[in-house]
Amino acid sequence: MNAFSMYVARESGLHKLHPLTKGSLTLLLLVAGLFLPGNWTSYFLVLFLILPLAYWGKIFHNFIRIVWGISLPFILSVVIIQSLFWGKGTPIFEFWIIAPKQEGALFALVSVGRIILVMSGFILFAMTTRPDTLMISLKQVGVPSSLAYIIVTTLQIIPRFQSKAFTILDAQRSRGLETEGNIFRRARAVVPIILPLVLSSLVEVEERAIAIEARGFNSKKEETSLIEIPDTNAQKIFRRILIILIPTIILFRVLWQLFK
């Protein structure tokens, strides 16, 4: 199955954790990094929690490469824009019209920490969790199975749609559609590609709807699953603690803001 996901298969303790444990941990990391007061919280979390976790998951090198690749454009942008165009402030040095400000550089550094935190948190979760096991575990805690159906199906059909779009692009090109040249020419190519893509996909809707109804999609009986997801009592307790911590941190930040 060629599914749309970043999952990297490895034999590691992190991979073996229950998907919901990893999910709540990721959520807690994001909330902690963005809500706890202090400028450097997010750096701290990345260095002392996310990186060791990635190492434990045996994906360290891949992980660093992907996080770096995704974050780099944001980091460059934020450092250049916020330090050079800060407005009033103390200049670090002045050279012709280039005068980065201290305040701007500080803001940029804080933002870089948040950017890396958000990117690495999500990617760590995506790289160590199989989408189908995530869906099954969500179903087990009471998420409607129709929602699970939507997410699993989406992950499966995205690669097919991507290649379909480029097939249509090539087909229209071979009929003489111009897809290069100035911007107006390229813009004119959009509708002849989008319309066939969307219309042919909508035709599928009917067939798919009949197909899944014929297989008992609307059945009210309780479902069973082919894949068993290992869970331990320790993890259940750990998850509960994580989930209690999330609103606690947000509440703490609100109170901090009020009584500072």
């Binding site: 995704i70 009033k88 803001f107 958000v118 995506a126 129709s146 995205i158 959009v190 969307v198």
Partner: protein, 255 residues
């Protein structure tokens, strides 16, 4: 109310949503490949809103960004914006914006008002002056009009031409798209400013830099960047959906 929401999520809607999300991503990538300065990555979301209703549209938007987030965490942070886009598309659909044909003069008027306000907005920003205490003053409308009369006239003409030739008879869908774009720009700005330091990591950052250089605050600059790029993008998306719905067989829409 609950009954209505349930009715929106028929089996056909549930099947349509994954396809719509895949359309979002496929077209979004195609546009990048064609090197066009728009996103067009919410066509599927708008389509579900128009065909199934506001709640289905909102769910599609949120899921689309969260699933895309498995590859691009930046998109996941804006899932609530995508949900609002789907919701507004659904409301537009309920009002018949995707079925009615507008007279072409109305499309021309919409285009003119849009480009006019965009121009005013950008000029107000680039002519702002910051004094020594860091207080930013924006020029008065009257000053702008007298100083840039020619530019405003040209802007109105260009806008009217865009409306007349591009929007054609899809004026109602176009208006809804513009409003949706403005709303999206406003609600996405706080996240962009706080979590991502005000940048998008793409070409539109040049706009953020320009607004920052002319004295705008971080939040204001991000919002201004969104206000320049989002409404046009969403107007195009709504237009494309309007075109699609016109080419659909009537029996498909009936359900």
């Amino acid at each position: 109310m609950l009954e209505n929401i349930k009715k929106e999520f028929s089996t056909r809607t549930l099947v349509l949503i994954p396809i719509a999300i895949a359309i979002n991503i496929a077209i979004g990538e195609l546009v990048v490949r064609l090197k066009l300065p728009v996103y067009l990555d919410s066509i599927g979301t708008v389509l579900v809103g128009a065909l199934a209703g506001p709640w289905a549209g909102a769910l599609t938007g949120a899921l689309a960004n969260l699933i895309w987030g498995l590859f691009n965490p930046y998109a996941a942070a804006f899932f609530y914006v995508a949900a609002v886009i789907g919701l507004l598309a659904g409301l537009a659909g309920k009002r018949g914006a995707f079925e009615k044909e507008s007279p072409r003069w109305l499309s021309a008027l919409v285009g003119a008002v849009f480009v006019f306000s965009l121009t005013m907005f950008i000029l107000a920003f680039t002519n702002a002056t910051t004094d020594d205490t860091g207080f930013t003053t924006y020029p008065s409308m009257a000053d702008l009009f007298s100083n840039y009369a020619v530019i405003f006239v040209v802007a109105i003409l260009i806008g009217a031409a865009i409306g007349y030739f591009l929007l054609q008879r899809g004026g109602y869908a176009g208006i809804w798209g513009l409003v949706t774009g403005v709303v999206a720009a406003i609600i996405s700005a706080p996240t962009a400013a706080y979590v991502f330091g005000g940048v998008t990591g793409s070409g539109t950052d040049l706009l953020v830099a320009a607004f920052r250089a002319s004295g705008g605050g971080i939040l204001a600059s991000v919002m201004a960047q969104g206000a320049v790029s989002d409404p046009f993008d969403k107007m195009l998306s709504f237009m494309v959906v309007w075109l699609i719905l016109r080419s659909l067989p009537a029996r498909f829409k009936a359900r």
